[in-house]
Symmetry: C2
Amino acid sequence: MSAWHKRKISGVLLDITGVLYDSGPGGGTAIPGSLEAVKKLKSSGLSLRFCSNETTVTRKTLIEKLNSVGFSLSEAELFTPVPAVCKILKERNLRPHLLVTNECLSDFSTVDQNNPNCVVIADAETNFSYHNLNKAFQLLKSLDNPVLFSLGKGKYYKSGNDLVLDVGAYMKALEYSCDLQAEVVGKPEKSFFNTALKDMGLSADECVMIGDDIVGDVGGAQNAGMRGVQVRTGKYRPEDENHSTVKADGVVDNLSQAVDLILAGQSS
Amino acid sequence: MSAWHKRKISGVLLDITGVLYDSGPGGGTAIPGSLEAVKKLKSSGLSLRFCSNETTVTRKTLIEKLNSVGFSLSEAELFTPVPAVCKILKERNLRPHLLVTNECLSDFSTVDQNNPNCVVIADAETNFSYHNLNKAFQLLKSLDNPVLFSLGKGKYYKSGNDLVLDVGAYMKALEYSCDLQAEVVGKPEKSFFNTALKDMGLSADECVMIGDDIVGDVGGAQNAGMRGVQVRTGKYRPEDENHSTVKADGVVDNLSQAVDLILAGQSS
């Protein structure tokens, strides 16, 4: 089979943190070459969507943050787990206890949170205190039919120069102590990728997902029928190239290289 | 087969929290009938040991706490995970980064903690902050051969009127994010029970373990060849009697009832 970038590509899905920019104290910085790469993609005529499990800030703040370092994203192009879980909560008449960052709370303002009958955890950062995790645990333990939503299940991500624990760690803690299995909303769930594909009006086999997470981005996209390409930026680690369960369709140094390969592959 | 208390019993192992007393703010309180039950056991001539995964306080404080509410325990009768893990660390030339309560630190004073090459977690209570868990995670992630010791793997326990997360939850979080399997020291590990059995000079089939944890106490004891009896005090919950993997040899209302059954069963 020909190289991943030589087969037909009509749409590109991009992860944000670790691909477009590195998060960290002070708002983060654009990854070299990514600004130009996004511009090239936008002017190429290919469909483009941004798929991120980012939940530490509101969608509005995330877009402001990205645009302040030179990107140009709109809400309509951005797929994150919060709108997806809000839809599920309303459909199933569930009222969440939220374990999220203080800022993220405002993205749930239209959701009834009285007398909670489920728990939603996101990347709550320092709100993942012993006290707050116990509150979520105690509520789940008190319910006849406990439901835990986890917005993503990442193992870790890069913040500044450090790797830090992602929501998946806390999901596993609650799953173990409550004897339940969380419902994951976000990457790597197929349904999450499908929402973006549907929005583009494209089929999975004509789309490529580019991300720094071998499981959440690459494995998730492949499971949804897309090609999954990993960048060697963000949380990428060399051992990802010998991952026990996921083999990327391609590995590139950064987004810039991926976009150049895509554009060259489609025009040749 | 005859009832658990009618077969020969030469030794009794008791869990502490939830069996002898309930922990909680202000030092905790003895469970009704337990003081008398321990006295009866001590004067019966049966061998008696206390097996606890308690790590929030030092061994000395634990004994003082128990004796202040009327028990009479000595260090020699008390089996907890800290001395066991200290022995392992020295044997394997491992220097721990400790994620434990501030008080528990002093039980590790003889262990070299410079330039750590492993992590030990215990029930660290409020020290299980996002910051501290990240420090343990980052160290493990930096090691070529990461080793994580978990002092017990309980899911939760009762503190005051609340169920609270036990060390097992945090063990699962680190296992997931570091892609490793912790080495558990303490209940329900067979080797931990065997140390107490060896100290009594008794074989497993003539001993009974009494605890409130269906997995850690009852399942662990049974796996070591003992009978495992659950009390309906402490963290006991009615669904434990239909547990998916562990069936207790006996279930009793409290320690007092267990001891009365044992003493009646042995004299008849």
